[in-house]
Symmetry: C2
Subunit: 371 residues, 2 copies
């Protein structure tokens, strides 16, 4: 079953943009961080994909909740949570990083925003990192406050995003480097805008502080975008897979370590910094990863939706992976997917087989990202 009704309740939180998203005829949601994430607009994901690659879209990604860590021990707490060395980070910088537990199991893959020397946001994927951060803080008696502020990111994505944003906020916004943020005048308030987003088409994220401005901000962007064929959108499954953007809970869980997820180059194993899980991660690094997240192209026509992972086998029938996100790419004329693949079969070019729920066995090849 690809889609069933979602029962609404206060527990599945609406965002500051949900009214607008509904007015645009949203057809489906997912739930991330106890909040609604739009997942489908008309006409369909393929049309949406081509539009994203050539125009500009506005995305309600308020589910990217911020875990705000402030206070004298803030930098210390953030460093305790990640194997990435954050000591050289500067204010105004975004850093993509793995969060791990004492066994080096992945807990999340947020973007860290350094707001100041004693002030950080973790822009999180789908797990309650606020509880993890606060638990560590309480246990260690750290001098920090761990909170979820009223911050709701709105993404402007696509090759025409810069033109739309420049028309509103002037040339300073075009000068922002990748994964850098600045503070801009928006609707008479000061708001944080980063050059970032969950696509490979370029764009910005406005970290709106004050949910009451949600509809006004949406309308501001929308009106500026009409000359650029702006449309409502959402993270696009085809584009995300082709770009190699993984998703916590889908491609990897607490059962995976950061080396398997491709975070190896970001994992600092030296004595000069310390973090939870370092001993476990050092042991894993000595042995080396036994599987890696890989991209697969596979044939046989469009697959059924990937609600349950599709087993991936090799020539002798042994299971060597599972497609955890997969869909047909109309541009490539084949299916694209992501799978953890065992070391024995992770080389690019390896021939594998994907077993889809329609009973088909599809020829597959391990390929480097981006597709």
């Amino acid at each position: 079953m690809a889609q069933a009704g979602l029962n609404m309740s206060r527990r599945i939180r609406r965002t500051p943009y949900t009214d607008r998203v509904e007015a645009h005829g949203v057809r489906g949601f997912s739930v991330v961080n106890h909040m609604l994430l739009p997942k489908a607009f008309q006409p369909d994901v393929e049309d949406d994909y081509f539009h994203l690659r050539s125009n500009v879209q506005i995305w309600d990604v308020a589910v990217q909740r911020q875990v705000q860590i402030t206070g004298q021990d803030a930098a210390r707490l953030v460093q305790m949570m990640t194997p990435r060395d954050i000591s050289a980070a500067v204010t105004g910088q975004c850093l993509y990083l793995p969060l791990i537990d004492q066994n080096a199991g992945m807990l999340n893959d947020p973007v860290l925003l350094k707001l100041g020397e004693d002030s950080f946001w973790l822009s999180i994927a789908d797990s309650d990192i606020l509880l993890w951060a606060n638990g560590i803080a309480v246990g260690h008696g750290l001098n920090v406050a761990v909170e979820e502020p009223d911050v709701s990111p709105l993404a402007i994505q696509g090759p025409k995003a810069e033109a739309v944003m420049t028309s509103l906020f002037g040339p300073d916004i075009a000068a922002l480097g990748h994964f850098r943020f600045g503070i801009f005048d928006v609707l008479g308030t000061r708001q944080l805008i980063a050059r970032s987003g969950y696509s490979k088409q370029g764009g910005f994220e406005i970290y709106l502080q004050d949910g009451a401005l949600g509809s006004a901000l949406w309308d501001l962007i929308w009106d500026a975008g009409t000359d650029y064929d702006i449309r409502p959108g959402c993270p696009n499954l085809i584009e995300r897979i082709e770009g190699g953007l993984m998703s916590y809970g889908n491609e990897f869980t607490r059962d995976n370590n950061p080396l398997e997820c491709g975070f190896g180059p970001l994992c600092h194993l030296g004595d000069d910094i310390d973090y939870i899980g370092k001993a476990a991660l050092r042991k894993l690094a000595e042995r080396g990863p036994q599987r890696l997240l890989r991209g697969l192209k596979f044939g046989g026509g469009p697959t059924p939706p990937c609600g349950k992972p599709f087993p991936v086998t090799c020539d002798d029938g042994q299971v060597v992976g599972q497609i955890t996100s997969g869909i047909y790419s109309p541009r490539l004329g084949c299916n694209v997917g992501m799978s953890m693949v065992e070391k024995s079969h992770w080389d690019f070019g390896t021939r594998l087989y994907v077993h889809t729920p329609d009973g088909a066995v599809r020829d597959a090849t391990v390929e480097p990202f981006p597709f």
Copy 2:
């Protein structure tokens, strides 16, 4: 919008019973603890309500994930997380308890199962308590393991539940006291069964260990239930509200304290036990709660679905609460709802007004549970 499509992915985990639930034509889901919770079967919630009150139902409540805490410091960690005194709990007992943070904000309201002196399960509502418990454990350097085991509760609820369970497991199951559990032979394995469940109609929960047995367990119960008109069901909104069963994320959040939620009698404030948030809770207790969770009956015909809370006002127009769960009760011939109500207006019999999204203003009365 009451219902929209839910996009399926691995991240929204299926349960060991989802195949069976889909075969029975489930019409809607919610998402709890990153997992599917069935929310609607045909024909409708009203028919389902009357059936639950007079027969027996089988519910997939695998979303009630277990946070397993074992080891030398297990009891200490559990006590650190709750103001309820657990020192007198005995093995085989279930305890409903509030979990709070250092500010006495509610984090969850699980059922604690005492498996042994050094072994506990927290059967949780919708927040990642595993991360909270593990964060505290790591921070304090406690000698415990905090894990999510392969345990998926299946509930058998309704007045005929005991007859069905006795036919399968013999008279010992009928001898189980309320909120007590025992270990029983099930499908050639030993399984924990408790007299408990998220309804006021009586029943049992089988804490199935080994998800591979999900369909077999479902079929076992189903076959035994055919003589008792068993049906697939789920926590029923009408029955839940009438019974005064609150829901974390709906009726209360981290912004509420346990006194407001009615946990006052369970909150131990003495010097003999210690827990996180005790200082904050003592201050709150000195002043007394300023609002309480209350039941309201309100008229004017069936309400639209309660996707956004309905404001509750008093005679002078001031907002004194909000309906966070509400629905029409065909038995009572009026709407029933739950709301935190300010102290000035929480007395039973107080006349209030509920503002529903259809524009109606409905007369309401504060009433004691159960309705």
